[in-house]
Symmetry: C2
Subunit: 97 residues, 2 copies
Amino acid sequence: MTIGQKIRELREKTGMLQRELAYELEVGDAYLSKIESNQKNLKKEHLTTISKLFKYSYSELETLWLANKVYDLIKDEKKAIEVLKVAEQEIKYRKTL
Amino acid sequence: MTIGQKIRELREKTGMLQRELAYELEVGDAYLSKIESNQKNLKKEHLTTISKLFKYSYSELETLWLANKVYDLIKDEKKAIEVLKVAEQEIKYRKTL
DNA sequence: TATATTTGACCAAATTAAGTCAAGTCAAAA
DNA sequence: TTTTGACTTGACTTAATTTGGTCAAATATA
């Protein structure tokens, strides 16, 4: 589940149009279309609006949003999974300090 | 092991000074100091020079370099590990397509 | 046909990258 | 104990990239 998919899911479940959600977010509908298909990422502030509007966990949205950023960074790398493992070790190691 | 630590390790093992390695990389020694302590990241091209100079696996350097970028992105997040898991799922999912 | 969505090309503003320089620290040598 | 050499740090700069969009045209979809 990507942040874009989640937003689309929330929007469609409530029968909202892109145009309408775009209006709430104060962006154009073309931009929202790209957000839903993960071609662009929205800014973090938008998560607040979406969270309130659909009464959906902010924290979960934030996790998806961050995961999407990580994904973007390594999606084209063959070693993507290995890279994540190394990063994870680093985080776990730091916690022991 | 971070990319900075690895570079420092390689440099010290050969008794090289920061000033000398910095010269090879064509940067200032203050900058190299920051790279070794992960305050700055070097550009990818520098990995080639380092790989050749110390005869150390380019691929491994690249993994550390990427991991460092991922780490930078989420290091301050409480949910860092969870975020990595979500990103990992995304990568694995995409592979099945 | 009309309405909803997608896409590609483009843009300005904000952010990050990629450094530098000067001053400071720190350990060891003189 | 002063000096020296290696390294670190903070403040700053400039250029490149990314972000956060828009608009018009193309494509579904009903």
